[in-house]
Amino acid sequence: MSQKVLDALTATHGAAIERTESTHGDEVAWVKADSLVAVATWLKNDPAMLFDAPVFVTCIDRLDWQPVGLPPSERWTEDKPRFEVAYQLRSTKHRHRIRLKIAVHENDPRVPSLAGLWPGFNWQERETFDMYGIRFDGHPDLRRIYLYEEFVGYPLRKDYPKDKRQPLVRRDDLPINPIKRDQTDRSAK
């Protein structure tokens, strides 16, 4: 559907685009992190593109990625980047959509922020930081949004156990101290 968007993108910013794919009706372009802002600015301002509406930004953690039904080369291994940050954009005028994906390694989880171009990404980047620990360079106010500041860790990462609670307050007169019972430390982090 929006294949011509991908074609125009690779024609103009060929060096910054690692590869493109088209799955289930969505167009995806893999972008290098350092040219993300340039590509995004072009996508916003070019008259044939005019991506003016931000849809979402999120992150995929591929630590447990062992898909069934795909060849074994698709499984995640230590040398591949662990995180993928995905930005979805939409154009009000031309009605096409695109997803930009940036591969992020675990030892340096940083991505340039697009909150300056689209204010709608401000809170969503904060949410991605809160849940996955991805730092967005250039974000005006990068702090936790869903969880409280005393929370340690990034819960949506695959190595954070689902029910590891970090309570802020409990009753003193409960017979069993639930704080000790709750925090089953099943992970190193």
Binding site: T23, D52, I145, K162
Partner: protein, 418 residues
């Protein structure tokens, strides 16, 4: 004597008498004040904390802090099968739960590639219950906002209408509020007998009640003064911040997923999309009321056009077998067991599927890995995006204006905080 008394007071209490204050000292201090609108507040629309910096009554700076209802939908989804996630989706936008159910079913079907094979009757039923949920969403929003501005009677009338719709939805699905009715591949049960007649009667009654409420509110000076001109947003701001739904339509942006990216059977029904002009709270209220009328128009058409047929796709990959077969043949029993325990196997891939929720474009971005549980399930919630604009909407307004602005954003806590 007076001089002695006032010096005594100054020495003892450290403050002067009023008549001894100089002119500049008599004015109120010009410092800004920090006021906390705590996570528990009288507005009925979800739990959020706003730390305001005010200059008298005027808001100078605000820090909106959501997350007090973060119930970890995404983390729970990674540990639950696709069918087990339906109750979690109910509790996202809990005033229009059927729409979330339909959205989740649509994303699983898109990944499986069976979107075009869903039986027509199932699609019609999905649209009928979605539009009924949309009506309850708008009624709750408008009713609660009116109550917060002091109009208690429209609230009672709209809740009365909502009760009628909830009773009908209870007959369809079994629960008043959190239905979990839709399944991947169709819906779980057919509509009950007598549903057509009851729904038609209810829609006529709701028409009358809406007319009464409009009489009470539209020309009401107090209501108009508190809503008109308050919290206006321009169309460019709405687009740049990602606003969708009634809020964006009130600003003049003509974007409705049902018209622009039609899905299900929406191309076969006729309806209009109300679009406002100024983007203030009164326009949002008018847009919502008109959308209720358009939803009723869609419902009447669906009731006429709905065909007979199966309500679930005949595909062993996602449909549970019939009970008679499950109890009598071993293959069906194994299939039933596998579906319940392992879940519906969705082939590996990722997609973003979106539909028009009560608040706008509600989307699910799902990464599937071929097992019965999603690898990642992200919800693009419109309430979260709209709440992010709340800070700029209440800027330079008075504290009392926060109530209609916050009410008309329709920030549903479950959807905003996931």
């Amino acid at each position: 004597m007076a001089a002695d008394a006032s010096t005594l007071k100054q020495l003892v209490l450290g403050r002067k008498d009023v008549q001894d204050l100089t002119d500049t000292e008599q004015e109120l201090p010009p410092d800004l004040m920090t006021v906390n609108m705590g996570p528990s507040h009288p507005a009925m629309h979800g739990t959020v904390r706003i730390v305001l910096t005010v200059d008298g009554e005027r808001v100078v700076k605000s820090d909106v802090q959501p997350g007090y209802l973060h119930r970890c939908f995404e983390k729970e989804s990674e540990h639950a099968t696709y069918t087990q996630i339906f109750p979690y989706t109910d509790r996202l936008n809990y005033v229009s739960p059927m729409i979330n159910n339909v959205g989740w079913a649509m994303v699983a079907e898109k990944l499986m590639g069976i979107t075009n094979d869903i039986p027509k009757r199932a699609e019609y039923i999905r649209v009928i219950v979605s539009e009924m949920s949309r009506i309850t969403d708008h009624l709750t929003c408008v009713g609660a906002s009116a109550m917060e501005l002091g109009a208690f009677t429209p609230f009672l009338y709209m809740i009365k209408c909502r009760e009628w719709i909830w009773e009908l939805l209870e007959k369809v699905s079994g629960a008043r509020l959190t239905h979990s009715y839709v399944r991947v591949g169709g819906v779980s049960k057919d509509l009950p007998d007598g549903f057509h007649a009851e729904l038609t009667y209810t829609l006529d009654e709701i028409d009358k009640v809406l007319a009464e409420c409009q009489d009470m509110l539209n020309q009401n000076k107090i209501f108009r003064d508190r809503m008109a001109g308050v919290g206006a947003m321009s169309k460019e701001d709405a687009i740049a911040t990602g606003c969708v739904g009634p809020i964006a339509r009130a600003c003049g942006l003509d974007y409705d997923v049902r018209k622009d990216y039609p899905y299900s059977i929406y191309p076969e029904v006729e309806f209009d999309v109300p679009v406002g002009t100024t983007g203030d709270c009164f326009d949002r209220y008018l847009v919502r009321l008109e959308e209720v009328r358009q939803s009723m128009r869609i419902l009447r058409q669906c009731l006429k056009q709905i065909p007979d047929g199966p309500t679930m796709i005949d595909d062993p990959r996602c449909a549970l077998p019939q009970k008679r077969a499950t109890y009598n043949t071993i293959e069906s029993m194994i299939r039933h067991f596998k579906h319940i325990v392992d879940g519906i196997k969705v082939p590996a891939g990722e997609t973003y599927c979106f539909l028009e929720g009560g608040n706008g474009e509600l989307g699910f971005f799902v990464v599937a890995d071929g097992t019965g549980r999603p690898y990642k399930a992200y919800v693009r919630s419109p309430s979260f995006v709209h709440l992010s604009t709340a800070g700029q909407l209440i800027h330079n307004h008075m504290i009392a204006d926060i109530v209609p602005i916050f009410g008309m954003i329709n920030m549903i806590g479950g959807e905003c905080d996931k």
